[in-house]
Each structure stands twice: as C-alpha cells, then as structure tokens.
C-alpha cells in the first residue's frame, strides 16, 4: 500500500514540475516585471509599514523594517499557500474531471508555487538585512529550516482545509477572515513583549509564531533557538501534515461530485 503510493508519487513528479511551471507562467502572464513583483511587492509594503509603525515600536525593536519583512515572508507563505491549496480542487476542476491525476498533487503544487515565491522574497530580505547592517552570523545559513517546517505545515493545513472547502465553498470566505485574525495574533509588526507574560504561553500555541521566532533568531538575532523550540516546531509540522493527509484521503473519493 505504502509502496504503491510512493511509486505513484514518483511517477507524477514530472507532472508536479510542469504544473508549477504552468501556474508560475500564468501568474505573471503579460506583466512587464514578472517574477520581480514577488521581490518588489514586499519591499514596497515594508516601506509603508515601517513608516507607519517604526515610530511606535522604534525603542523596542531594532531593525524594524527587517523585523517586519521576516514576519511578512513566513506568514504570507503559510497562509497564502494553505488558502490556495484549499481552493486547488475547484480551480483545477477541469483537469481533475478529465485526467487521472492523484488529487493531492494540486495541493502540493499550490504550496510549492508559494514556496518558490517566498524564496524570491527571501532574496530581497537578505538585501534589506545587509542594507540595514544586521550583524551577520553563520546561523543565517540555517534559514531554510523554518521554511521547511512552514512548507509541511502549510501543506497539511491546506489539505485539511481542502477536504472540507471542496464541499463547502463558504470556507473560502471564512478563512479570509480567519487569516486576518491570525495576522493580528502573530507578532508580525509588534514585539512579543507587549503581551503580558502570563498570556505568553498562548502565543506558543501559534505554529506560525514558533516558525517565525526560529527564523528571526537565526537570521536577525544571530542566536541558535533552543532544542525545545525545534521539537515543538517539528511536532506541529508532522501532526498537521498527518491530520491533513488522513482527512484528505477520507474525503477525496467524493470530490468529483462537487467540483
């Protein structure tokens, strides 16, 4: 059973490559700057956010633009990827109805596309970090670790949401609201210190915050996060991924009736 699934997965790897390529091309179809937008977009937003918030948080956060940028990359990647994965069955209905492709590949392709875009944003991030003279340490080279955690978390979450969102289109709108709430609950533009310490444990329950703090520790603070943090992050990713796969497998047989 597992061997068969693995074989199927390897067999469709070229398809994954092609479909990501297709979505990538379509996203920047006929735009002059193309992929440069995924580097430029956060840069422009960063300028706006820095102007608005840096007077408020200047004392407590060093390198405010870099701080905001790091949060933006991780948060946007996870939420946008899971949102796209959730709608992937509906968007690719024409293919799913005609071709025999394992459904979950459309979830993987949505997340992978966002992952590639996050990598491009990361180039800008490092340029900005160098510009603001953030001290450099060797820890920076581990930047991909929190991204990999985020990838599997986003995939698991996306598959879980997809299993329900395919039947219930309202989830699309509901998730947009939830994303906004989630944004304010994650210390993207404010320092975590403003949360009273007796409530701080609630923030540890937020996987995005865990991944983000690992990313910030490695790239900005030059600190190696504690082992405990890594264990929590791994658990969050694995549990979400397993939950996503199990839910998706259970529901996918009935997808074709609803798309």
């Amino acid at each position: 059973m597992l061997k068969k699934s693995l074989y199927e997965f390897m067999n469709y790897m070229p398809f994954l490559k092609e479909i990501v390529k297709r979505d990538f091309k379509k996203k920047y179809y006929k735009s002059v700057l193309g992929i440069a937008w995924s580097m430029l977009n956060p840069l422009l937003l960063m300028v706006v956010m820095s102007v608005v918030f840096s007077t408020v948080f200047r004392r407590s956060i060093p390198y405010y633009p870099v701080y905001w940028f790091s949060g933006y990359i991780i948060f946007t990647f996870i939420t946008q990827a899971s949102h796209n994965a959730m709608n992937s069955m509906i968007h690719n209905a024409s293919l799913i109805k005609k071709m025999k492709i394992p459904n979950y590949f459309f979830c993987i392709s949505s997340v992978t596309l966002q992952f590639i875009m996050a990598l491009f944003s990361l180039i800008t991030f490092f340029i900005v970090a160098a510009f603001f003279k953030v001290p450099f340490t060797m820890n920076v080279f581990l930047f991909f670790v929190p991204l990999i955690y985020s990838y599997f978390f986003a995939l698991g979450l996306g598959m879980f949401l997809c299993a329900y969102g395919t039947f219930l289109r309202d989830l699309d709108h509901l998730y947009s609201v939830a994303r906004r709430m989630w944004m304010y609950l994650t210390p993207l533009f404010y320092p975590v210190d403003i949360i009273p310490s007796q409530f701080r444990f609630l923030w540890d329950l937020n996987p995005i915050y865990i991944y983000l703090s690992i990313f910030r520790d490695l790239t900005m603070n030059g600190v190696m996060p504690s082992e405990r943090t890594f264990i929590i992050a791994t658990l969050y990713s694995i549990i979400t991924l397993i939950l996503g796969i199990v839910t998706f497998k259970e529901k996918e047989e009935r997808f074709f009736l609803y798309i």
Binding site: F15, K17, I19, R22, L168, D170
Partner: protein, 287 residues
C-alpha cells in the same frame, strides 16, 4: 492483421468459463454502478449544509448514471461503447480511467491507461502548444526527457509545425483536437480510452487517426472507444457494448451490435433521433 469473425468467435468461445482474473483480461468491469447527485447547488450554502446535517440526511436526488454493468476486455482487443446521448458511455469510460469511483462494483485495470476523455482534455489554452505537450505528457506520467524524444513526432502528426509557440487560445477546435489525439496516442499506453475523439477533423485526418489506431491495435494496445458514428465503430472496433439509460442492453461483435442499434434508432420514432446532417456536425464540433 485481419481477423475473421469466425476466428473472433473461436477466441471468445475459448474464454468461456475462464477465470476473470485471467492474464488476458486487462479491463474487468464487474457489476459497476455509478451515482451522481443532482444537488442543484443545494449543499453549496452554509445554511443548507447545517440544516441537512441536523436532519442527518443529505437531501439530494440520486441519479444512477451507470447501473449494474459488467463486461471484460481482453488484451489487444478493441471495444466500442455505443448508445444515445445520456446513456452513460462517457461516465463508464471515466470510471474505467479511474477518474471517478463507482458507487458499487469493482473495476480492475491491468496496465497503464491513457485517457482521452475529451479532445482538449488537459490543455491550458493560455499556454503555447509546446508547453502544453509537455504538460499533457506529464499528466500521462511521462518525463520531460521522454516527451522531448516524442515532440517532433507529435508536431508532425498534428500538422502544427507553424504554430508550435503560439498560445492555444488562438487555435481552432480542429487544431486542438489534432494535437490532443497526437499527444494521447504517441505514448506507449497499454489501454487507450477515446471519447468521441475521431469526430473532429477532415476526412484525411480521420483516416490518419484510424490508421494510427489500427497500428496500435496491432502493437497490442487495448482500445476503448465511444462514437456516435456506427460506420466508424464497425471499422475501428471488434466488439461493442450497447448502453441505454445506464443499463447494458447487449454486448457482442461490433457489426451485430451496431446493426441492432441502428434498427433500434429507426424503430423508436417517438424518441428523439440522432441529429443528422448539419446539426450533427455542429453537435460533434461542440464536444
């Protein structure tokens, strides 16, 4: 390779009473039923969803597109599905291709399937023909390297040399169908599933397609075929299944079934007949 009717009958008789799990059988459809729900968008809303959940029963009309159909196809054989519109031919093909799962019964398929459910199946109109060939190839599970080898052959067969890098938006339906046929048949599939794919294209191209199918049959490929054109069915396929309203009416040699079917169409005057002439060609172009 011409095989006479007597030979076919002999071969069929040989298989009577044999185990369905026989090596020769590559498609085994065993008492299959497919259900759709005519939900009329009922369950798409949150309110209805919860109401239905409280009621404990989902309230939509069940519609059985296929009901208790069983047949077997041997390796290298060609089988046509004929029947009027809405008789469940395409649904059955989709079930065999593994795209939809039957509500009841089992379908076992040995070997890899190249589904050509619709002529433009899998093409993205905003991409060029070149990109689409690789995309469609990947959907059939082929690597980039393999498709590169086949690329020239596909372009040549579909006669699209001048339009390789043109977005498919600007293609005519004939061009799209030619490319679709070329991509699906260039690959080494054990089973080809073709739904009305020979309906579009001029006479010359149709001939070319029929020739290609004959070659594939010779090479041991199994073909499942849907068409409204009984003459074509007789030419391409050895055996045929007649479906009506989701039920299997008859199975046998394509000559025999096609004649019965044509007779049936003529006698059932009250029912809507197959569109003829101009309307027919329009209907075929629309798939």
């Amino acid at each position: 390779m011409e095989i006479s009717n007597a030979q076919i009958e002999f071969m069929q008789n040989q298989n009577v009473g044999r185990d369905p799990e026989d090596d020769d059988v590559c498609v085994n459809v065993d008492d299959v039923s497919v259900m759709f729900n005519l939900s009329k968008n009922k369950e798409d809303g949150l309110k209805e969803y919860f109401i239905n959940m409280i009621k404990g029963k989902v309230a939509f009309d069940e519609f059985w597109a296929i009901k208790n159909v069983s047949f077997q196809v041997k390796k290298g054989d060609s089988l046509a599905l004929i029947g009027r519109n809405g008789s469940g031919k395409s649904t059955l093909l989709k079930a065999i291709a593994g795209i939809i799962k039957p509500a009841r019964g089992n379908i076992t398929v040995k070997g890899n399937v190249a589904p050509l459910i619709e002529i433009n199946g899998g093409f993205d109109r905003s991409l060029s023909a070149r990109e689409n060939i690789f995309l469609a190839g990947a959907m059939h599970g082929h690597t980039n390297k393999y498709m590169k080898k086949r690329f020239d052959e596909i372009i040549e067969f579909s006669e699209l040399e001048k339009f390789v890098d043109v977005p498919m938006k600007s293609f005519s339906s004939g061009m799209v169908s030619r490319l679709g046929f070329a991509v699906a048949t260039c690959v080494n599939a054990d089973i080809i599933i073709a739904d009305e794919v020979l309906a579009v294209g001029d006479a010359k191209f149709k001939q070319k397609c029929e020739k290609r199918i004959a070659e594939m049959l010779k090479g041991g490929t199994t073909i499942l075929f849907v068409s409204h054109n009984t003459n074509q069915v007789k030419k391409v396929c050895r055996r045929a299944v007649w479906l009506d309203k989701g039920k299997m009416i008859d199975i046998g040699s394509s000559e025999e079934i096609c004649d019965k079917y044509s007779k049936f169409l003529k006698t059932s005057k009250k029912e809507v007949r197959q569109p003829t002439g101009r309307i027919r060609s329009l209907a075929e172009a629309d798939i």
